[in-house]
Symmetry: C2
Subunit: 339 residues, 2 copies
């Protein structure tokens, strides 16, 4: 049985492993520094489909199928699939996974969805409800822009704090038993709202949630950033990462030397015109599934803390003058069974 | 540790109890036959707020706070809250629960969300990650109509197959240990799509999913409808319920005498102009939290199978010509520890 540690963290007793993972991206991701990490890169951002929403669904399906192949599993071997995305009513996931015939439990944590899905899957494995689960999420620049901001044809100006929604998906297969990487601990975050109302500054809206969850994790487990090869945040970008450092410094935690943000990793900010960095559920999902899991599998990384962040607003709530609640969930992944 | 039974069902080993629950409704619910089951009925469908979306958030908050009061708990006693709703990006839940400072895990299963949230909470209790959880969801006629169909001012005609989105919320507190009602088993559903494209006929879109999940549950557990006081579906309404009977009859299962649908329970179809019945996440959540849990607590019901259904489409997917995938999750609730 899992053990509650401190106020917000749970440590798993079973050997919960990410036994396979896969990442899918498109043209911009192929032009970025992490191109080599993707299992599938499709130059056509429509992925052969007739709409961007269908393309996003296709990415989830492709990511899951690639991960299943690598795990040498069929959909019938997977007891639950946990999935969600940014589209209204999570249609990226529902239409993408409809044909797989796997018991489906939809998750919504905006760009924190990958960490939430890993936490849900880990608990279903720990409880004994499952021996194998899948976790998947996605985002698509074109479907996100027109839904959250403006039609692409409008050509709206993007302020310097804005981020570029990744056209990407990431999928992990989690099993009880295996050779790792191991899901050791999970810290579910509380919503944190510092009153940010600028929907073009998601980094600022999410940084306080990341700070709160990381602080809770370090306190619960008695660890510091120095205990990890790297602490990976989801998509804080340049603005949010700097704010995260400042917020944690006030708590006596120095994260600067041990921090990686998937939004800063996936694109080259100097050359790719992404302003403050990448974002979207698919950003950290693809970096986790395509890069970090593989580095852990190969022993190039020993121990990471993956903390995905989400902004829990909608265009409607912003239009109604609401501020943006942030959320962050942390997952401790280790290449080794112990430690 | 939980036990997997058959292909899709899990039986919990810990005593997972719904120790308190509360239901909130508005004017139409107050005029219906189940008015007496609500803990709070607000004649003003704005609930004192300035927008319908904020009213929906307020309902979730009120439902959780009432349930917490009954359980004699504070938010700090709750280890996780599982919540979701029909609004884009689930803002009914995020803004409603933002101030509670409880670790938040968003769920999306459309109108099946209450059953999904119960299943998630039960697994977090079973895994040992939690000793107390909350599950909550909501819907609001006005916020749903303008988001999914037409602005209310347009006065669109509603076809006979259409249903009336309940303005309601339901919340349950689940704990490991207690006097019941007990969450005995959970069957997570697979998406089922029979090609229905009429967004005004949700009952038809969801009935095949309900049939599939119920059939899986009965087969996995070796039970029949006769083993339950009643089998409760979420919001199939008159059209979907009839289709469910027909689909199950083909599998040799007679549900007619043992079936209740929350969409048929919450309103008086003869007097309240709701066409095929009630619907929305809040429909079955309020009937479960306000009626069924209390009947089980008082021993008036011994044993129910609660099967909430959802239609996993969005206005965008319908506009793009897609059909509607349905989903249904089943939760076996018993007043007694054994059986």
């Amino acid at each position: 049985m899992a053990k509650r540690i401190g106020t917000q963290t749970v440590r798993f007793e079973r050997d919960i492993c990410i036994t396979a993972s896969a990442a899918v991206g498109s043209k911009k991701e192929a032009e970025g520094p992490m191109a080599g990490c993707f299992d599938l890169l499709c130059e056509d951002s429509n992925f052969g489909e007739t709409t961007w929403e269908k393309a996003e669904s296709r990415m989830q399906k492709d990511a899951v199928n690639r991960a299943l192949e690598k795990a040498a599993k069929s959909p019938a071997d997977i007891h639950y699939i946990f999935a969600g995305d940014l589209l209204n009513q999570c249609i990226g996931s529902t239409y993408g996974l409809r044909d797989l015939s796997i018991p489906f439990l939809g998750a919504y944590g905006a760009c924190s969805t990958m960490a939430e899905a890993l936490g849900l899957a880990a608990n279903f494995l720990e409880s004994g409800a499952a021996e194998a689960c899948a976790a998947v999420t996605s985002s698509h620049f074109c479907s996100a822009e027109r839904q959250f901001r403006f039609p692409l044809e409008y050509g709206g100006q993007r302020p310097p704090t804005s981020q570029w929604t990744a056209t990407a998906a990431g999928a992990c297969i989690l099993e009880a038993g295996g050779q790792g990487p191991y899901v050791k601990e999970f810290t579910a975050g509380k919503m944190t709202d510092y009153g940010i109302t600028d929907a073009n500054n998601m980094g600022a809206a999410m940084a306080p949630a990341a700070a709160a969850t990381l602080q809770a994790y370090f306190q619960d487990t008695g660890t510091t950033p120095g205990d990890f090869d790297t602490v990976v945040t989801g998509d804080l970008g340049a603005v949010g990462s700097e704010l995260l450092y400042e917020l944690l410094e006030r708590q006596g935690i120095d994260l600067r030397k041990k921090h990686t943000d998937c939004g800063l990793l996936i694109y080259d900010r100097d050359k790719q015109d992404v302003h403050a960095g990448g974002s979207g559920c698919g950003c950290c999902a693809s970096m986790l599934s395509g890069y970090f899991v593989k580095e852990l599998q190969e022993g190039k990384l020993g121990n990471i803390l993956f903390c995905a962040t989400g902004a829990l607003m909608s265009p409607t709530s912003i239009q109604q003058g609401e501020s943006i609640p942030g959320i962050a969930h942390a997952v401790h992944l280790s290449g080794k069974r112990e430690g």
